[in-house]
């Protein structure tokens, strides 16, 4: 009896203790991931990945090994030279996470809601559906943020965003409508920050369907669309006609032959030569989604339809597809006709534009890519000599004009708008506005309204710019892009130096950097952050959907990729 009572009391106590130690929902990093030994005390044990030696490069990816040489030095060994390496590691998806944090929060998916970074702001709360609050991190290694808090809000309607700015309830907005630019410029209380066009809008042609398999037909349409008219009527100030596929700001973008000018007479002649003096019937496909490369898809589709009819007697139907279906169909080459699509820069290098579209066996958008194009692009991506790169990309662009897999139309400008009293306001060509340097007119809170909400806060497994912008404030990578610019500049690394043939990069890390939860930043964290993405068989290769899109796009392939 006595024992039974004691036992039951102990059981009851145990239950009470168990109930009281359950944690609550989305709050700031609460140190539940505290390792048992304080990091500063434990001796540094260097790690490398893979631990037992470099991976066999036959797997097809860029990395062969990532090694923590010592506590503050990391070396990346590559399977092939990568001249764009520094630009790639600056991307937010490659932000560095604390090893213990990854281990404690990945499997249970908590990392999606609780970011723990090294940035000037730390995560405070995400009131789903309404707003995200970040607050200033006092332990930041660099220049402290100015505003005490940053609040992210969102609204998909451009008119509503502008209204909020005019009403003064927000300090900055993203993507005002095309016609709102003059309104903002004319308002003394507002300031417009135009965004350089690091994107391209093109009309894609899948050349496996007749009559698009006839190169003359494609060339005729290439001459028969007045691209200037489209830019003048449907794009905001700061947009330019696309003379090349890659936007002019990128190095090597403007090599080789430029796109020929609009010439309806020559176009008609060419079409007749191809055997279609009276034109033909076709379809224009697009998705009704706003992007900086194509802010008004419906209007542009209608205009292209009209131009094809008037200039070339080509009668086109318009078919609107939903976004997922459209992407699916286009990348599998299933669209019989013309499709309207574009591309925004992930990292500021020409390879980001040309390689994905014209030297990518998984992308069947354009049907068969002529080897003159893909060979030239391959050459340009793996040489280091600037002159050789320029020549290779020049050849590629010239081949594009010849073979017309697509017709580049515009580089779409966009912009951000702020209240006039926000000091340090800027827009970023990559969409990476950096709020730590903005002073919202002396107010303690900076309120920013963008198009849409972040899906999760673990950006290694995200692709959407709205999500990445939040991560930008909180997380840091080895390098970053200059504020408002595109140059890769050191961030968590003091410097990364490549060897002679750019197959290995050694990064010296900053010392004395803390994560928001108090952990210390060291080389093992770099190894872990990359390893989790790189190895498909890694126990922590989970993320949100497990796709790690950007890793695959930048570094070609995962280790142990499933067949």
């Amino acid at each position: 009896m006595q024992r039974w009572r004691t036992f039951s009391i102990l059981v009851a106590l145990g239950l009470v203790v168990a109930a009281c130690t359950t944690t609550s929902t989305s709050q700031e990093p609460s140190g539940s991931a505290e390792p048992s030994t304080p990091e500063s005390m434990a001796p540094f044990v260097a790690t490398s990945y893979p631990a037992d030696g470099p991976a066999d490069c036959a797997y097809g990816g860029e990395f062969s090994q990532i090694t923590a040489v010592d506590e503050f030095t990391v070396r990346f060994d590559l399977c092939y030279p990568d001249p764009a390496f520094l630009a790639k590691i600056a991307f937010t998806a490659n932000a560095i996470n604390d090893t213990a944090w990854l281990e404690a929060n990945m499997v249970n998916h908590l990392i999606l809601a609780r970011p723990n970074g090294t940035g000037p702001y730390k995560f405070k709360e995400y009131v789903r559906g309404d707003h995200i609050t970040l607050e200033k991190f006092d332990g930041y290694w660099g220049d402290a943020a100015i505003a005490q808090e940053v609040i992210f809000q969102w609204n998909s309607e451009a008119a509503a965003r502008l209204l909020a700015l005019q009403a003064g309830t927000v300090d900055g907005i993203d993507n005002p409508g095309t016609d709102d630019f003059p309104v903002i410029e004319g308002d003394a209380n507002l300031a417009l920050e135009p965004r350089e066009a690091l994107n391209v809008f093109y009309v894609g042609i899948t050349n496996t369907y007749a009559p698009w398999d006839n190169e003359l037909v494609r060339q005729a349409v290439g001459l028969g669309i007045d691209r200037q008219r489209i830019v003048d009527n449907f794009y905001p100030a700061g947009s330019t006609v696309a003379d090349y596929f890659s936007p002019a700001a990128l190095a090597y973008a403007s090599e080789g032959a430029a796109w020929p000018d609009f010439d309806p007479t020559a176009a008609k002649a060419k079409l007749a030569e191809a055997g279609f003096p009276d034109g033909f019937d076709t379809t224009i496909f697009y998705r009704d989604v706003v992007r900086s490369y194509l802010p008004t898809p419906g209007l542009v589709a209608a205009d292209i339809q009209n131009q094809l009819l008037v200039n070339l007697n080509i009668r086109a139907d318009i078919v609107v597809q939903d976004s997922g279906t459209f992407i699916d169909n286009s990348s599998q080459g299933l669209l019989n006709g013309l499709h309207l699509l574009g591309w925004g820069a992930d990292y500021p290098d020409t390879s980001n534009f040309l390689d994905y579209h014209f030297n990518n066996p998984a992308n069947l958008q354009f049907g068969t890519i002529d080897s003159s194009v893909s060979d030239a692009i391959a050459a340009g991506g793996q040489t280091l000599d600037p002159a050789a790169r320029a020549a290779a990309y020049g050849d590629a662009n010239t081949a594009l004009v010849e073979t017309v897999p697509m017709i580049p139309i515009a580089h779409g400008g966009s912009g951000a708008a702020f209240r006039a009293d926000v000091a340090g306001a800027h827009s970023s060509p990559l969409g990476n506005e950096y709020f730590a340097v903005m002073d919202p007119g002396g107010r303690s809170t900076m309120v920013w309204m963008q198009n849409s909400y972040p899906i999760s806060l673990y950006c290694a497994d995200e692709t959407d710019g709205e999500t990445l912008r939040v991560c930008e404030q909180v997380m840091e990578a080895l390098y970053s892009y200059s504020i408002g610019g595109t140059d890769a500049v050191p961030q968590l690394a003091e410097e990364c130096v490549g060897n002679d043939d750019l197959t290995s990069f050694t990064c010296t890390l900053r010392q004395g950097v803390s994560f928001h939860d108090g952990s210390h930043f060291d080389a093992n964290d770099v190894v872990a952050s990359y390893a989790v993405q790189w190895d498909a068989a890694h126990p922590l290769h989970i993320g949100r959907t497990g796709s790690f899109e950007y890793f695959a796009a930048f570094f070609a392939q995962f280790l142990n990729a499933p067949e």
């Binding site: 008119a159 709102d180 309104v183 009704d288 008004t296 419906g298 209608a302 009209n306 318009i318 609107v320």
Partner: protein, 311 residues
């Protein structure tokens, strides 16, 4: 659950049909709301019929771009109200593709009218079929059909319509189909209520005893009885069909570009309220007036034809 139907099945029917129609017509015209509604609708029909004649331009012709109009010059320009000679006249302005808004609005009247009638026609056809079967058969067939109607009614109309349209692929006809499907239960219930109220009447039992066939009873007794609430409900139904299809087109799921439909026009330009208000307000007013016309007429019809109102 018949309380959401606006009228109850009528009572006895006048023994002299010819006078019934004349009387009804006079009663209808005596209602103020019906008068206003008829005026609006006559204008609407006239415009729709005459659309190809009165539209100055083709609805899909980007004349504005050819004329070199800038973004600031899109607004209405009416000679009579002082539009300068150098500027081409567009009494309702042009849209962002340079298309003449007046021509598009006028053609849009055709689109809205035909799809409104088609949608309600479809719903009435299927609904009355289901309702008569349910009413006549009774028992488990009645139960099954009415449960199906309940399931349909359980969803917010627009949400279900969105789902249906997405399944069928966006398009004007599919949007009409979706809205029609969602509206079927209303007419099914009207018909069923009519059938039920007549079925048990003495004179029906007598007729059947005398050997009159069910279809004969249906045609000569039940249908005229159900006609009144069907007409009233149908008129109001056209109003909401036009509005719902405009809502679907607004969301991009109904009329597809470049078709000139009022809802689609507003949807495409919804962020232009402060830069080009005419692009939203003019189709918006057209939509409001048309729906208003049908609503007023429906109200007037109900007031006139409901025999229980003491006058």
């Amino acid at each position: 659950m018949s309380h959401e139907i606006m009228t109850a099945p009528g009572d006895t029917i006048s023994a002299r049909p010819a006078n019934m129609w004349r009387d009804a017509g006079r009663d209808i015209l005596a209602q103020r709301s019906a008068q206003v509604g008829l005026v609006i609708l006559s204008a609407l029909f006239a415009i729709a019929l005459a659309a190809p004649i009165i539209a100055v331009h083709e609805p899909n012709d980007p004349v504005g771009i050819a004329e070199g109009l800038t973004a600031q010059q899109r607004g209405p320009c009416i000679r009579l109200l002082g539009c300068p000679e150098e500027r081409p006249e567009h009494i309702f302005g042009v849209d962002r593709n340079g298309r003449d808004v007046f021509s598009r609005v006028v053609h849009g009247a055709r689109v809205s009218l035909w799809i409104g009638f088609a949608t309600v026609g479809f719903a009435i056809f299927v609904g009355t079929l289901l309702g008569s079967v349910a009413g006549f058969a009774g028992g488990w067939i009645d139960n099954l059909i009415m449960r199906l109607m309940d399931v349909l009614l359980a969803f917010p109309a627009l949400v279900l319509a969105i789902a249906i349209v997405t399944v069928l692929e966006p398009g004007l006809v599919n949007a009409g189909l979706a809205i029609g499907v969602v509206a079927i239960p209303i007419y099914a219930r009207v018909m069923r209520a009519s059938v039920l109220s007549i079925k048990e009447r003495d004179f029906v039992t007598a007729s059947r005893a005398l050997g009159e066939s069910p279809s004969g009873i249906l045609l000569r007794r039940i249908v005229p009885n159900a006609l009144t609430p069907l007409i009233v409900q149908g008129t109001l139904g056209i109003a909401s069909a036009i509005l719902d299809i405009a809502a679907l087109s607004f969301l991009g799921l109904g009329a597809q570009p470049p078709l000139a439909e009022w809802g689609s026009m507003i949807g495409l330009d919804r962020n232009q309220l402060f830069t080009d208000p005419h692009l939203i307000l003019i189709p918006g007013v057209a939509l409001s007036l048309s729906v208003l016309g049908f609503n007023l007429l429906g109200d007037g019809l109900r007031d006139a034809l409901d025999p229980r109102l003491n006058r």
